[in-house]
Amino acid sequence: MKFSRRFAIALLAGAATMAVMAAVAAAPAHAVDGQTMIITGEDYTKWLWGNQHTDGSVYNFTTVPGEGYGDNGQGTEIDLLIASHPSKNVEVTGRIQSRFNQNQWTNYAGFGGRNPALENPPAGPCLGGACGEFDPRSNEYIKLRGLTARFTPGFKWLDAATIGSTDLGMFDPYTIGKIRYIDRDNAKAVLFQGPVFTRKVTYDLIRVSLPRLFAGPNFNTGTYAGQDGAYGLQLKVTPSSFFDATGILERVRDLEVSATDTGNNALDNGRSLASRFKNDVYGAKFGIHPSSKFDFRGLYYYSTADANPKYDTPTSFGLSGFSPALAGKVSDPLYKANVDLNDPFGVGLSFNVEYFNIGAQYTSILAARREVDVLLTEGHDGAWVFPGPDNSAFGVFAGNPTRIGYGGWEGPAQQVATLSVDNEFTDFEEPMAETVIGWKGITVAPNWTLGDLDLSGEYTRIDYNTNWQAWGDASRGITDSIYPNFESDAGVSSYRNAYAPFQDKKTNIAILRGKYLLNVGKGVDVFGKVKYIGETDKRMNDARFLPYQAGDCPGGGAACHNNTNNYSAGHSSADLYTNPPVITVNGITGYQWKPFDSLSDDDRDLNYKLFQLGAGYQLTGNLYGSVTYERYNVDLKDGNTAFQAYNLHSMASGTNDKNKLILYAHYTFGAAEFGANYEYNWGTFTPDFGGGFVTQYADAGIAHDFGVPVGSPGFKGRFGGWNSLDKRDFKQNRMKVFMKVRF
């Protein structure tokens, strides 16, 4: 293994040096005089307004600790794009950009403010520009974003050598995908591209430096990062227009200085390295294209990952962990097949069919995290983000309000094949990404063009490779999982949750979409959609996993006996679902929550309907506007008070009626573009948490912490959090306006 790594590094380093030297030698000498450097740029300004009245940064959403989010503020970015051809065979492009972050206009370029370096004790994170000029995020700093040199030496075996920034778009989203973390070209790499013998076979060979910010267990790459990298080789074969194939090999190595190479003057002969995290993916994809009416594509990848616990990687994520990689050694495949039937009957009716199967342990740490859609299905909707009815996570505890707000994001989710799904630093009108790790199923998607009417739809059936009991390994405890489950699978939806301790889930999605051009004036675009999601999850489906022995809680005001039921030696789900105490409220004595004594206590049953109708019109040559109305009727049974949303989240069992009104306008004025998106979200949540417990009433402290009226009904859960039994009314207004001027 060591040999392979060193060999790969040596090969790439040698090839890079040779190629660049050869290119320089081969290129005719060109005087720099007369070369042209082109500088263009963009002024991007946005205005955010919303009635949540948060102003931590000029982005609507983040979950990154220490970063701010907000729905109010104004910000301006500059992006300078530089391009030059210093000689025929060399091209250099670069980008220098500032960031919105906490640079609201009210900062006046960030003078003054708190200086966190002088604070003892620390006064907490810098949010909303509070640290002024002492924090780069609020002093209008400008950073190098992308710098790339591209060499085209004209060799038969090398088309181009690229050194520097890249968005990795030449590979695919399952292996090395486009990585956007605020910018799309933060990745730095050495890339070689060219033919092998003939142009019917081409290669892409890359060495990418591993992003220390997130590409490893627990979202980091350890303490030694200088040599961390990913190596990718892609061979594309196109023997004819009938057939093409691609083989891909990816190796990721997160290295640390060996913990055992100490003492005995170890530094005298250099230090050994050890692997903190290894991730290999290999596989192939192919396409068969016999005619323009029929197309078949398939792909198969197999991944292995190995997190070394000697170097600060977790051996367990407890019940709720956050990590893009699993603990220990894991492996799984990902495979997919697509058939396209393009208008086979000559009447404008086409069909796309996709089978997909993504292993529960499939891992590619550099897979695309957003802005791609690896599955044909529309999946879930951005309006439902996190477990709480208000899109909050861990909202059962005080101090965890929703971030994106009740309205969530607009539109359907995009699917990505990674746990590292990323929606950070986005605004509400951007698409939300959701993980599809563990999904398997089939989608049939017809589309039919009938003159000015376009009809399309889909039926998707999803089963899950993560349907298991006790995390799929009954030899371990319920709170001892190798799987990070982020915000868990409670509520209507949760975009980055792939795992649950107990799961027996099936999903059906049916959609009918229509677009029609109404011949009125310049033509009115009328569009609409009806969507249904039916999802059932029995979660715990075997009585041997019940937490306590039958009859443990006799009722009638009698305390539970607490005789646990072990599903394996020393392990019981009572670690998660503890018995309730007996309480008396207003003369009523009973359990504080329902004892978990039935397999139906955690059952989930989602009945989800979306109706959308909208119209758009080109008001003038430069101005387009549209109005969209969406209504969501969601009936959700998500366990009862015995389940308590894993004790961590706001319970979401009940009826949701959510409405969304969207007004959109886009205006072009020469080199400038303006856009405006206004949303009004309103609706209700009527809780139904079942029976079997004594209702409590909010005191002044609960009222303060959870924003409920004093005396309103609810119950306290296992960790003391509060779930209100009141009907909740929601109203969220928000708007984003932007201006882009290219110069």
Binding site: Q193, N633, E673
Partner: protein
Amino acid sequence: MSESFWKMGVLTAATGLLLAGSALAQSGASFKDPTGDDNGPGTYTYPTDGVYKRGSFDMTAFDVKVNGKKVDFAVTFNTSLEDPWRMGGGFSVQMVFIAIKTGEGGFKDGPPGTNVTFADGNEWNKLVILSPQGPGKVKSEVDAKMPGAQGAAVLIPTRVKGSGQTISGSVDLDQLGGGDPSKWGYQVLVQSNEGFPDGKDLLTRKVNEYEGQHRFGGGTDTDCDPHVMDILAPPGKGGADEVAAQHEMLKYTCNPDGTRKSGGVLKMVYANK
């Protein structure tokens, strides 16, 4: 209440379906184009980014239909259209110029960035642009980058959509000067929608010597080469001989200073010739 709401929704959708069946076009012209000729003069290759799917610039059919007072244009490709850049119209990477000879005279220069010209007697009088960009954006580019008379002859459909494998848009027959579209000459230039075009290019993607992540390859690094991936070739029936005819029209030679020496001269194609 919820039940009645859903009944109303289904009823509305059904009514929309019934309304839809009516619009059928009456007359026009149809052309076929061979598959696998999305290589310009025979050497061009796609950019390396994954969004440029096989067949994305391979035109297989071009249809013109008179629909009341409007003329519908539809260009079909050898792939299902996708909208990876969320342009909103059902497609992202393609852009199509439809040059039309409606009468005498016209313009010899192709749209800025395509580096083609039209042969004597094949000049275009009207140019329809099917772009995923909004009409306001395209119009501002035309105003900035095309001479006044040429720009005035450009027509930008209010609505351009990509559905299945076909990009379509409509303009008023009056804007085309009236007449019988079935008798006009057409040339279709398949290009790629470039959001960050070179200074003088009209939202077009460049062809370089070697393909890049967002650049076509197989040409030159100067503007000597025609920057189009696929065009119509006479007789527009989709025969294998049209591949050679396309390559012949797009064949080019360059001067030592990188300027065009010869080639890149297009002819119109007629449905009834």
